[in-house]
Amino acid sequence: MIKYIARKLVLAIPLVIGVVTLIFFLIEASPGNVADKFFNSETPPEVREMIVAKYGLDQPAMVRYVLMLKNLVFMDFGVSMATGKPVFELVADALPNTLILSAVTLAIIYPVGIVLGSIQATRQNSFTDTGISVGSLFLYSMPGFWLAMMLQLNISYHFSMWIEGMAAAGTISDTLGAILSIPGSGMYDAIQYDYMSPSEQFLNRCKHLLLPGLAMAVASAAGTARYMRSSLLEVIRQDYVRTARAKGLLERQVLVKHGMRNAMLPIVTLFGLSIPFLFSGSVLIEMIFAWPGMGRLIVNAIYAQDTPLIIACFFVSTLLVVAGNLVADVTYAIVDPRITYD
C-alpha cells in the first residue's frame, strides 16, 4: 500500500506539470493582456514599454514558462498582476472557505445519499421507493444555480420574513425566531458578528453553511441515492447475503454488516470522481451566496487575465484532486479487503 501511494504521488508530478503547461499556453493564446489595465489613451509609449517590462510581457513565452515552473517548485506563486497582492495570500484567504463548504457538502451528500438509496433498495417498488426515485430525478435534473436561487428566495427571504413577522407579533419568542431565521449570503452575519460570543459565532457560521451546503449537495445526494439503490439491490441478491439470513442474523445486521459494505464500492468511486468539482469550488453557488471561495477567485482571475493567480489556483486544485483521488483509492482498499495495491 505504501509503495502504491508513493507511486501515485510520483505520477502526480507529470500530471501537475501537464495541467499548468496547458493553462499557461491557453492564457498565452487568449487575446489582450493585463498590462492594458494600466494603459489609457494618454499613456506615453515609453511608459507603456516600462509597464510591459515590469510584468515580463516582453520576454518570450518559453522564458516565462520556464520561470513559472521554477517558481512553482519553490512554491513562489508571485504577485497578482491585477491587485499587486501576493498570490499565496489570495489563495490562502479563499481555500479554507472552499474546503469548509466542501466538507459540509460531502457530509450531506454521502450520508443522505446512502441512507435514501438503502431505504429504496429494501423497499423496492413500494410507494416509498417510487416517491424517492421521482424526487431524486427531479432534484438531479434541476440546474444548480436555479436551486440555489430558489433556496435563497424562499428560505432566506420569504420563510425568514414570515418567522420574523411571527416573532415581532409575539407568536413565537425572539430566541426561536432568531434560530429559525436562515441567512442567505456570506459566511457569517456582517453586522452583529463582532458582538457575538465565540459559541454564538460558531453557531452563526454553521447557519450560514446551511443553504450553500444544501444547494451544492442536493443534486449529488440524489445521484448518490440512485447509485446506492442499484448497487445494494445487486448485493442483496448474492448468495452470501442469503447465507447470512439463513444463519439467523437480524435483517439490519445482514444489510449493514454484509450488504452495505460491498454496495459501497461504487459510492467510493463516485466520491473520488466528485472531489475535483468540490475542491475547485462552485463559482455559481459562491456568487449567489457570496461565499468567498476558490471558484470566484479563479473566475475573477480569468476575467482579469491574471496569469500568476490563474496558474496558482489550478496548481492548488490539481494537487487537491490528486490527493482526493488517492484518498478514494485508499478508502477503496479499506472497504474491500479483496483489493490490494502494490
Binding site: 494600466f38 489609457n40 515609453e46 491587485t83 497582492k85 427571504y157 453586522i191
Partner: protein, 557 residues
C-alpha cells in the same frame, strides 16, 4: 471514536478560524451617543482592490478611499463641478492661467498623529510621475512642469505649475481628489513593489472615516476616525458603515427587500415597480446621467464611411421606442433620455440642449440610403451597391443583457429598411481590444462620462505622433479638432461652453455613433437615513453627514 473527535475538532477549528476575532474594541464615545447613531449596511458588488490611491483603478475602491481621506478641494455639483475648501482653504490662479497657488490647513493629521503637509502632496505626485511605480494616473502629470507638480513653498503653501493654460476644471479635478500618501511611511519604500506594501491593505486615514476591518471578499467596515482633526461639521455621524460584498444582483435585491442591507446601487428598471409596491420603506434615488449606450460605426470600412448612410441608420432605429420598452417602468417612469453626444446632460451649462435627436423615420432612411447608392437591385429584400449586400456584424460584450436586447431590436428595425444585421457577442476584453484595433463592423458599447470635459481621447484625429485609442470609429474632422484644442485651452469654463456646444453639434451632424441614451442609475436606500446625498458625483457623497434620527435607529450597536 478518536477519529470522530479529531474530525469534529478540525471542523470546529476550520469553521472558527479566519475572519473576525470575537468581540473587538467598541467604538469610543459615550455609550448612549454610540447607541443612537445606527449603522449603514451597503450591498456592494465587488471588493476593494489596492488601497494605495495612486495605483487604484477601481470604482469600488475609490468610493471607500475617498472617505478615509480629506480632499484638497471638495466638490459639489450643480450643472458643473463646484469647488469648496477642503484641505486647501484657499487657491488662486495666476493671470496667465499656468500657476495655481494653494494654501492648506495646518491642523489635519493622519491616524498616527503625523501632520498632513504640502510635502505629502508633492510626494504623492512624485510617485504618480515615477515610471517605476507604473501608476495608471501618470498621464495626469503630462501638463504639469517637472518641478511644479506641485512645488512646495512651505508646510501649508504649494504651487501647481502647468505647461499651458489648460481647462481649469480638469486640471483641478485631477489634483484635488487624489488621496494623499505620507512621505513618512512610504518615502523609503521600494517603488517597483509599491503595490505590495502594507499600506495597500492598511491605509492611514486622515478623513472622517477609518478602515476598521477589511475581510477580503466578505465585508469592509468603516468607523468614525477618532483621530480626525478636521472641521467638526465633517465628523462622521453614523456608528459604522458596513460594505457587504454580494457579487450577485439577485442576492443584493433579496437582501435589500429583506432588510438585511440598507442600500443598493444599480437597481434594474423592472425591479423599480416591484420595490415601490412591496418595499415602500426603500427610497429610490436617481443618480443622473453618467453612463450612456451607443452604437459605434467603423468609419474605416467603406460601408460606414458615408455620412448619409450613418444618418439613415439613425433614422431607422426607434430610440424613444427602445427607451419606452427597455428603460421605462410599468408606471411610465423613464429612466433614460436620448443622447446626442458624449458630454453628459448633467453638465447642463455645456450640454447642447438645442440638438434635436434624429426622428424615427423609415422613409427618410430609405431615401438617404438610395441617395448613397444603396438600392435593392436583385429584389432579395436586402439593399445592395456595386454587387455588395448591405450586411454587417453588430457585436457587443458578453454578460450585458441590456446591450444584448439592443442588438436584437436594432437587427429587427434595420431589417425593415433592407439592412441585414448579424449579431455576435464577444468576451469583454476581446471586444474592447477589437474596438481599439478597429477590427469590427459595428459595436454596441457605452461610456462612463467624467464631470469635466475632455473629448480629445474619443474624437480627436490620430496624428503622426499620437494615436487616440478611444477613437474607436476612426473619426476625423479637422474642424472638430480645432474646437477641441480651443476648448481645452480656454481657461474660463463660461467662455469654453459655446465652443463645446458647437463641437457637439458638429459631431452629431457627422453621426459617427448612433447615440442611444444616457441612463439614470437607480439607487435604493432605507428611508430612515437622512442628509443622504446620492448624486452624480458619488453614491456616497458626504457620507460623514448621513444620519438617522434616534427614534428610527435600527442597529443600536
Amino acid at each position: 471514536m478518536f477519529a470522530r473527535s479529531l474530525s469534529l475538532l478540525s471542523a470546529v477549528a476550520l469553521i472558527s478560524c479566519g475572519g473576525a476575532d470575537p468581540t473587538t474594541e467598541k467604538p469610543e464615545g459615550p455609550a448612549s451617543a454610540q447607541e443612537t447613531r445606527d449603522t449603514l449596511v451597503v450591498g456592494y458588488m465587488a471588493d476593494m482592490g489596492n488601497l494605495i490611491s495612486i495605483v487604484n483603478d477601481s470604482a469600488s475602491t475609490t468610493n471607500i478611499l475617498s472617505n478615509l481621506s480629506y480632499p484638497l478641494i471638495k466638490s459639489d455639483f450643480d450643472c458643473s463641478l463646484k469647488k469648496l475648501p477642503g484641505l486647501a482653504t484657499d487657491w488662486k490662479w495666476s493671470d496667465d492661467g499656468k500657476t495655481l497657488s494653494m494654501t492648506l490647513r495646518d491642523d489635519l493629521t493622519y491616524q498616527d498623529g503625523t501632520k498632513v503637509t504640502a510635502d505629502d502632496v508633492a510626494f504623492t505626485w512624485e510617485l504618480i510621475s515615477d515610471p517605476e511605480v507604473a501608476s495608471p494616473r501618470i498621464s495626469y502629470v503630462e501638463r504639469m512642469t517637472k518641478d511644479g507638480r506641485p512645488k512646495v513653498i512651505d508646510d501649508t503653501h504649494l504651487e501647481w505649475h502647468f505647461t499651458e493654460a489648460y481647462d481649469r476644471d480638469s486640471q483641478m479635478s485631477h489634483a484635488s481628489s487624489m488621496p494623499l500618501l505620507p512621505r513618512a511611511k512610504l518615502g523609503t519604500a521600494d517603488r517597483k513593489t509599491l503595490r505590495g506594501h502594507q499600506m495597500s491593505k492598511e491605509p492611514l486615514a486622515y478623513g472622517p472615516w477609518k478602515l476598521a476591518k477589511w475581510e477580503p471578499n466578505t465585508r469592509i467596515v468603516l468607523e468614525p476616525n477618532d483621530k480626525f482633526t478636521g472641521p467638526a461639521e465633517d465628523r462622521a455621524h453614523l456608528n459604522r458603515v458596513i460594505f457587504k460584498i454580494l457579487p450577485e444582483y439577485t442576492t443584493r435585491l433579496i437582501e435589500l427587500q429583506g432588510g438585511k442591507i440598507d442600500m443598493m446601487e444599480d437597481i434594474n428598471v423592472p425591479d423599480v415597480d416591484k420595490l415601490r409596491k412591496e418595499n415602500p420603506e426603500i427610497k429610490l434615488v436617481r443618480r443622473g446621467w453618467r453612463n450612456n449606450d451607443y452604437i459605434a460605426w467603423n468609419m474605416t470600412k467603406p460601408m460606414f464611411a458615408d455620412k448619409r448612410v450613418r444618418t439613415a441608420l439613425a433614422h431607422a432605429v426607434d430610440v424613444n421606442g427602445m427607451i419606452e420598452k427597455m428603460l421605462t417602468s410599468e408606471t411610465g417612469e423613464a429612466f433614460a433620455r436620448p443622447g446626442v453626444g458624449t458630454i453628459t446632460p448633467a453638465l447642463c451649462g455645456v450640454h447642447n440642449d438645442d440638438i434635436v435627436p434624429l426622428s424615427h423615420n423609415l422613409e427618410k432612411a430609405k431615401e438617404l440610403l438610395a441617395e448613397a447608392g444603396w438600392v435593392d437591385t436583385d429584389a432579395d429584400g436586402i439593399l445592395d451597391k456595386d454587387g455588395e449586400r448591405f450586411e454587417f456584424l453588430l457585436s457587443t460584450n458578453n454578460g450585458n443583457k441590456r446591450r444584448a436586447d439592443i442588438q436584437i431590436r436594432v437587427q429587427a428595425q434595420l431589417a425593415k429598411i433592407g439592412v441585414k444585421v448579424n449579431l455576435e457577442k464577444q468576451e469583454m476584453n476581446t471586444f474592447y481590444e477589437n474596438l481599439r484595433k478597429k477590427d469590427y463592423d459595428a459595436g454596441v458599447a457605452g461610456w462612463s462620462s467624467s464631470l469635466f470635459i475632455d473629448p480629445e481621447s474619443i474624437w480627436h484625429c490620430d496624428t503622426d505622433t499620437r494615436k487616440y485609442e478611444f477613437n474607436f470609429v476612426g473619426y476625423c474632422n479637422p474642424e472638430v479638432d480645432k474646437l477641441i484644442e480651443k476648448g481645452l485651452t480656454t481657461a474660463d469654463p463660461k467662455e469654453a461652453a459655446p465652443i463645446w456646444k458647437e463641437m457637439q453639434a458638429k459631431i452629431y451632424e457627422d453621426q459617427p455613433y448612433l447615440f442611444l441614451w444616457w441612463m439614470d442609475e437607480i439607487v435604493g436606500i432605507h428611508e430612515r437615513f437622512e442628509s443622504v446625498e446620492i448624486d452624480v458625483l458619488s453614491p456616497f457623497h458626504n457620507l460623514h453627514a448621513w444620519e438617522v434620527p434616534p427614534e428610527k435607529v435600527k442597529y443600536k450597536r
